[in-house]
């Protein structure tokens, strides 16, 4: 199997991608949305003509609301982001952007989230990530409790976790680039996407390992390399096809779905793609590599 033969190349590709993702995370950083930071966000649409952005800047300045971020959206709309504001401040913003009552925009959505709600959500998100990771690690430990030769069971679990980190890190890296160039923000759905990728990508890896386990039990071959290679051959159409169906629906969600889930579907597409890639091109090569390493030490 060529994947096993050229395993070092595939492992290197993965390492490079993860390093790039980390680099982008540290250079661009994550851009947190108001879900987590607190603050206010309103989306307005004008009927015929929207005023120039600089005009809005000048009319909003006297309100003294600190930094106000105005982004155009669609052909006639703006998204306005401010700190967490009161009802009075909200209505004064609305009247300030309606050009003296001559061009009153329709307010499509408005949210104002207090900092304490944001903090609570952050705690919830962190807790959810920790619990999901723990749950999955326990599940991996359970799934591989019976395999021991020639690679002991905890090493399968360890590799599954390494590929898991790989599968999450690369979409996060992509997201930091999106967030730098297109203003994507980390919101609740970002966390949901990461957690779902965790769940789906680990199941892919487990199916591959399951087959290796079965083939070891059936003594399909005496050589570990060959066993892994053969298992991959049996499993990869399945792996690719199942991820393909999920990626297909996600693509539909991205192109036709509501704007609220656009970045979410993009994150998931990246996660599914690299999840499948890693279960074939990273997890199994790593397994063989570890086995080789053990053997070398014995000799």
């Amino acid at each position: 199997m060529f994947i096993i033969k050229y395993k070092k190349i595939f492992i290197s590709i993965s390492i490079a991608l993860v390093i790039l993702s980390f680099a982008s995370l540290f250079t661009f950083g994550l851009n947190f949305g108001i879900d987590f930071k607190g603050g206010a966000l309103m989306e307005v649409t004008y009927k015929d003509v929207r005023p120039a952005q600089t005009d809005l800047d000048t009319s909003l300045k006297p309100l003294n609301l600190g930094s106000i971020l105005i982004q155009p959206t669609g052909d006639l709309g703006y998204i306005i982001k401010t700190k967490d504001i009161s009802d009075i401040e909200h209505s004064s913003i609305l009247s300030a952007i309606s050009e003296g009552g001559k061009n009153v925009p329709e307010e499509k959505s408005f949210s104002s989230i207090g900092p304490s709600v944001g903090k609570e959500l952050t705690r919830k998100a962190v807790l959810a990530i920790v619990l999901v990771s723990l749950g999955i690690i326990l599940f991996i430990a359970y799934a591989f409790r019976k395999v021991s030769k020639p690679v002991s069971s905890w090493r399968y679990g360890f590799i599954a976790i390494v590929t898991l980190l790989h599968d999450v890190m690369i979409p996060v890296g992509l997201f930091t680039i999106l967030s730098h160039y297109y203003g994507a923000e980390v919101d609740t759905l970002f966390v949901v996407a990461i957690l779902t990728v965790l769940g789906l990508s680990v199941s892919d890896t487990i199916v591959v390992f399951d087959r290796i386990r079965e083939n070891i039990k059936n003594r399909a071959s005496t050589d570990f390399h060959e066993t892994v290679g053969k298992s991959l051959e049996q499993v990869y159409p399945r792996s690719i096809n199942t991820s393909l169906t999920v990626i297909l629906v996600l693509l539909c969600l991205f192109f036709f779905g509501p704007s609220a889930t656009k970045y979410f579907s993009l994150m998931m597409i990246a996660g599914m793609f690299f999840g499948t890639y890693s279960s074939i091109f990273l997890a199994s090569p790593l397994l063989v590599w570890i086995e080789e390493f053990q053997n070398r030490n014995k000799k």
Partner: protein, 462 residues
């Protein structure tokens, strides 16, 4: 054999029945919705605020003044009062719920209010947060300094507030307010019934002020200044300002809903306009339909006969899910719809696993019937294992999530569970009912996949 075919037909009919229910119970898809039975009319999809448009408010309740053991009682009565106030909006299906101060929330007691269709946040928060203040005032003694202003037209206006002095009687002593209509003028009026303390106070006030006016102030402004004719000992009073019927009805509601048991402060508010919501729904439906079509195409082209069967069982899966959304009911949000659409992709997973196994069995030289049997037996463990992790994720997300995440976790989790059932049971029954195709070359071609012909030339696996 016939048994299996009959079973397959029954399942097909049931699936069709479920799909008809989903179709008929939706306003948009059923042309005769108005004449449909109550059961159908009552089972439309429940759309979350982000899809239907509306306002989502989070209040923090200050329970520092409440003894530790009574916090949940205080929160319950707070919820009742707010619920009564919210019902005055005439909103259909408002949701008012208490969120307990769990460990995650660091002991903050919260009240979450969902108002579908309400987009005027300011009006909503005003109505919810404000206690109607009803005061009874008597004429100020003669000689009290009065403030007056000279209007633009030159007339002197005496400030009415300075003409009256407060009494102890307020809306606190009210036991009930009712809406009535004057028998002669048909004007709406509000009749008040005081409790015992209020009755005594009112009797005293009316007794001392016969022949004078008593002013009734609402939220600091006078709404009525009737002249007292005699002492009123039974604790009944009538306010007949110049109300419109709606105003009178609202006032009655506000007076009856009473004061808040604990002070509340607004933490966060979100409003989504109806147009944004409905375009999100359309986009979600479109994405779901395209997703299904593309997957159906892929399955049929790649897996041939089994592919067609799995498309049918996927169709039944989708009908079951949609029917469950209506029956449970599940509140659908944009994230929830995303979860459901993803679950359509995952639902195929089990079928793909089975078909790949069937193909392997065929390559090993088994007959079509045996290959189907073996394929199911071998694929089960992989199906179970690959779904467990998604179930773990859904469970934890559901536990800790905000309402948005909960919607996603619920649809995804339900999807994973139901799809395991539909992929295994339904596909199996269909597949085993069509083994009349025999074991010839055509049958082998129909049961294999991709670009292969299904001949057993690959039978040696290396």
């Amino acid at each position: 054999m016939w048994k299996k075919r009959v079973l397959a037909l029954i399942i097909l009919a049931l699936g069709f029945g479920v799909a008809t229910f989903v179709y008929k119970s939706e306003y948009k898809t059923n042309k005769n919705f108005g004449q449909a039975s109550h059961f159908l009319q009552n089972h439309q999809f429940h759309l979350g605020l982000d899809l239907s448009g509306g306002t989502h408010l989070i209040y923090k309740a200050d329970v520092s003044g409440v003894p530790a053991g009574q916090i949940s009682d205080a929160m319950d009565s707070l919820r009742d009062v707010i619920e009564r106030r919210v019902n005055l909006f005439g909103v259909s299906e408002p949701v008012v719920q208490v969120e307990d101060g769990s460990i995650v929330a660091r002991g903050e007691e919260k009240l979450i209010i969902d108002l579908p269709g309400v987009t005027d946040v300011e009006k909503a928060t005003k109505m919810i947060g404000e206690t109607p203040l009803l005061e009874f005032k008597t004429e100020a003694p003669k000689g009290t300094a009065q403030t007056a202003t000279v209007g633009k037209d030159g007339k002197v206006q005496i400030d009415i507030n300075s003409q009256y002095v407060s009494t102890d009687l307020t809306g606190r002593y009210l036991s009930k307010a009712t809406l009535e209509f004057d028998q002669n003028t048909r004007e709406p009026k509000v009749s008040l019934q005081f409790d015992d303390t209020g009755t005594a106070l009112f009797a005293k006030i009316t007794k001392e002020n016969v022949g004078k006016t008593v002013a009734i102030f609402l939220d600091g402004s006078p709404i009525s200044t009737p002249v007292v004719r005699e002492e009123i000992p039974n604790g009944q009073a009538v306010i007949s300002g110049s109300f419109t019927p709606t105003e009178a009805k609202q006032l009655v509601g506000r007076l009856n809903s009473g004061a808040l048991p604990v002070p509340i402060s607004l933490l966060s508010k979100q409003t989504i306009g109806g147009s944004l919501g409905s375009s999100a729904v359309n986009a979600g439906v479109k994405a779901g339909m395209f997703g299904f079509l593309i997957i159906a195409l892929f399955l049929i082209l790649w897996y041939r006969l089994p592919g067609i069967i799995s498309v049918i069982s996927l169709g039944i899966y989708i009908s079951i899910m949609l029917a469950l959304f209506k029956l449970i009911p599940v509140t659908l949000t944009a994230a929830g719809i995303a979860g459901f659409i993803i679950s359509i992709g995952i639902a195929v997973d089990a079928n793909v696993l089975i078909f790949e196994r069937v193909k392997e069995e065929l390559r090993l030289g088994h007959s079509v019937a045996d290959a189907v049997k073996g394929g199911f037996a071998h694929a089960w463990f992989s199906i179970r294992d690959s779904n467990i992790s998604s179930i773990i994720t859904s469970l934890i997300l559901f536990w800790f999530g905000t309402s948005l995440i909960k919607g996603f976790a619920l649809t995804l989790g339900m999807g994973v569970l139901i799809s395991m059932f539909s992929a295994i049971t339904i596909t199996r029954i269909f597949l085993s009912s069509i083994d009349f195709v025999g074991n010839g070359k055509v049958a082998r071609f129909l049961f294999s996949s991709g670009f292969g012909s299904g001949e057993s030339k690959h039978s040696i696996n290396n």
